[in-house]
Amino acid sequence: MVAYLLARLGGGAVSVALLLVVVHGLIAAAPGDPLVALLGPGVLGVPEAQRERMRSEAGLDRPWPQQAAAYLGAVLRGDLGTSRRSGRPVAEELRDRLPATAALAAAALTLALALGLIVGVAAAAFARSWLDPLLTGALLLGAAVPVYWTGLLLLYAFSLTLDWLPASGGGGWRHLLLPALSLGLASAAPLARVTRAALLDALAAPHVVAARARGLSRPSVLLRHGLRNALAPVVTVAAIDLGRMLGGVVFVEAVFGWPGLGHLAVDAILARDLALVQGVVLVTAVAVLALGLLVDLAYLRLDPRVRYR
């Protein structure tokens, strides 16, 4: 188990390093003067000789593999570079914004899981009634609505028309509710569909028929004997979905002016602040890998037959 964990962590570190090198390469291949990309167009006013010296100080006169290696080394030491927009260290900028996005993602995932499980179980429990096609249809539609449109509709209904919740900005749970709901609704639909399908699969198993024959109550059969066995695929989809959701964060933060990493990424791209963009990629990649690992560890609890070596 320890060996497995170490192998996963090592493999993950290699993947993140490769991703950073690819992104670094993309940025190095960008058209235009890399010094301008690093320091901004203001640098063009500086005399050529001085620019040459700045170039060699930044390591831009060295071949690209050396630059990439130097960048990775700096990242390992915790130095992510300096944001050209604010002049502050990238690591500091990320630290400022990470809590807001983490709160948003956690709240959205909680909502998505709660809603997805309830609707999925309901659809499976009433699989032979009129409720199931209705729910299935609603889920198909729900999975198709783009998250920024959900955001705009919620914004219009609950803050601009009813004036129950603030429209924009960061802060307490009142600010968090609408962005989390937009994101959560988008992820709830696929979760509910998987829950329904997995639960129907699980309910067809012989032990469930046996439980029913023994006269166990309907909720007990459904939840203890059915859902318990259906959770593993649900967790898989939740993990895949989470990656997608992290992408959607960008849009939701833009709609609601939520001061998180997504907002930071868009501002960084508009300002062509590429060191900052790279920082966001690093944080996201680490988060995605950590979640994948958590999911695989969750299988151990959900399905005792799973063994990792």
Binding site: L140, Y148, L153, Y156, R193, A268, L274, T284, V306, Y308
Partner: protein
């Protein structure tokens, strides 16, 4: 999936009705954007300052925006950007990713390993974020956004095609082709690669939905289409600025995106089910987007 009967019935019918509905939805949308000049009396950039921010009327069924432009005309013409460019983007991603996957699947172990490590590294970055990085490098615009999304989606296709190639090349008929003396290139291109067609088509269909959302989303963020060209995402961004007063502005573009995604999802799901019923080496390859990780042995529910 719970018993064999629906599957057998579906095989006879070939495509589930929901897939036909999805295909029809997409066809109607694509046709509407092509027929835009005939369906809407006014042009998408025709400014009329006397008719600014007007709610829907008989003459202007979807209202007008802050410059008095017809929302109907802009949604229809915007679809030419949002929908058609998305389709082209997915084709490019499938072609590039497919070529990469073929190369990796056919290459000797070391090159294959290197290519797949690279693909896996790209897959840990959410496609949208990867696209954002590339837009950051290329600068905002419609074609940079499209290129970015094509590059961001290509690794998924590369993984998919490679996995099909690895399973297919062990099959007896491929062995037979090799034994009959066909050259390696011919075996690969004529006997192995075609086996991936089904999964690529399914994945491409589903990806169209994602790319429509992402492309419009980049427009929404101001990183995609630049004004005055109409685009569903850009329309939504403008609608937000006029929100309390002019809610009709956000309805049509949002509904158009939703309809396109719904169509792509319905068609993609039905195609996937049809492919799974046909069985074969390829069907198992479509399980998920994440790089392979240990999965429990049973209970892999596909979405209904």
């Amino acid at each position: 999936m719970t018993d064999a009967t629906p599957a057998r019935r579906r095989r006879r019918r070939r495509l589930h009705p929901s897939g036909v509905v999805g295909a029809a939805l997409l066809a109607v949308l694509l046709a509407a954007t092509l027929l835009a000049p005939w369906l809407s009396p006014r042009g998408p950039s025709e400014v009329d300052l006397r008719r600014r921010l007007q709610p829907p009327t008989w003459a202007e069924p979807l209202g007008t925006d802050e410059l008095g432009r017809s929302t109907l005309a802009r949604v229809l013409h915007g679809g030419r950007v949002s929908l058609w460019v998305a389709v082209v983007t997915v084709l490019a991603a499938a072609a590039a990713g497919g070529a990469l996957g073929t190369l990796a699947g056919a290459a000797p172990g070391r090159l294959d390993g290197l290519l797949m490590r690279l693909v896996d590294a790209l897959l840990i970055c959410p496609p949208l974020l990867l696209a954002l990085v590339i837009v950051g490098v290329l600068g905002p615009g419609l074609w940079p956004a499209a290129i970015a999304l094509a590059v961001a989606e290509a690794p998924v296709f590369a993984r998919l095609v490679r996995s099909v190639i690895l399973t297919t090349r062990e099959l007896p008929y491929v062995e037979a082709a090799v034994a009959s003396g066909a050259r390696a290139r011919r075996v690969l291109l004529r006997h192995v690669v075609p086996a991936a067609t089904g999964v690529v088509v399914v994945q491409a269909t589903v990806t169209v939905g994602f790319v429509v959302v992402a492309l419009a989303g980049l427009g929404f963020l101001g990183l995609g289409v630049q004004p005055p060209t109409a685009d569903w995402g850009d329309m939504l961004a403008r609608a937000r600025d006029h929100l309390p007063g002019a809610p009709w502005l956000m309805l049509a573009p949002g509904a158009a995106i939703t309809a396109a995604v719904l169509g792509a999802n319905l068609l993609g799901d039905a195609l996937r089910d049809a492919l799974a019923d046909r069985g074969g080496a390829a069907a198992g390859a479509l399980a998920g987007r994440r790089p392979a990780s240990p999965r429990p042995t049973r209970g892999r529910g596909r979405p209904a």
